[in-house]
Symmetry: C2
Subunit: 208 residues, 2 copies
Amino acid sequence: MVSQNKQREAGTEAKILNAARKIFQIKGLAGARMQEIADEAGINKAMLHYYYRNKDQLFQAVFSEAVGRIFPIIVQILSYEIPLFDKIRIFVKEYIGILKENPYLPGFVLNEITQHPDKFMELFFDNGIEFPKIFYDDINKAIEKGEIIEIEPLMLLVNIIALCVFPIVAKPVVKGIYNLTEDEYNTFLEKREYEVADFIINSISLKK
Amino acid sequence: MVSQNKQREAGTEAKILNAARKIFQIKGLAGARMQEIADEAGINKAMLHYYYRNKDQLFQAVFSEAVGRIFPIIVQILSYEIPLFDKIRIFVKEYIGILKENPYLPGFVLNEITQHPDKFMELFFDNGIEFPKIFYDDINKAIEKGEIIEIEPLMLLVNIIALCVFPIVAKPVVKGIYNLTEDEYNTFLEKREYEVADFIINSISLKK
DNA sequence: GTCTATATAACGATAGAC
DNA sequence: GTCTATCGTTATATAGAC
């Protein structure tokens, strides 16, 4: 896959991957066209097959990269050894921040996983991604100490991720219905970087 | 002998629409194949073109129906003249319930709107769908009365819908990662029909 | 209305010159 | 490595018999 020759600047392979990332993330595997990717990369269609044998392998490169961008960061932050509420605040801020910079990423990943669950499972477990038990311990300990309400860790985790991810995936819908500009929606998302954490902590906290 | 034409009131057009709904919702516009829809309907491919001129018009029929299923119910429930907290409880229970019965619906609609925002906007406003001001009044009045925290109505609405919709869209992801069966995931969703409302009300309520 | 057969276009992939 | 030209397949869509 990688050029065997000496290192080159602004390699064609990188151009292809950049173009493929853009097109696949927007149009999906079924909707993307090899010609379109070639045009976006500013090179010829045959080059795509030279570097990546076929469409499926090119997609696989983009998809696995996307999975690698969207899941490990969750695992990483949830593994910090800091107080639960701090962890939630950092997670929400960081995660919304990342998704805001890659607005097509979550929709792309969700859709393609729905389309090919098996391909995802391989990728997920082969890369050794594993959701951290420490976060569940955090929650259970906080419940025991009477700091938060009784709630299943998975229930809380899904709530947190839902509040971060959904507004990115539903961006065209909300933008359309409320006739918001790109800037206005980004301002909305920036507010959420803080307010969502408040929303969650308010909900589970027992100290008032 | 009676004419056998009238006896066949199973309706070919309905068969086609049912098949198209199933295939399009799962595979999307780009991924669906006319042949696959014909097979699913148990009829010939040419019939699809006889009743619906082309793929795009067949898709349009499915898509507009889907939009009509997913938005008006929101508007309807949010228009009830009942106390805010009751409204939230009913909304969450009803909406998750509907989506649970149509698990591919929200992902399909979100994805296709992202893909063709303009087509959606026409549909949305042509059908006169409009988000109810009464719900925003509910929220602002509750804030004034000191019943809930200060929160932008749109912020709260997005939170509510996120908590209902996301777990449906992310079903294959969560199911895969946690190795849950279909039944286990449905149990999870049924729990959410009540717990999500608690989560929201806990978060915004000022009375404790 | 429903079918079979076929036209027409689009797409992924390859061959071969340079 | 990069290009042009083209092959083979598949997909949408139409024609025409019944």
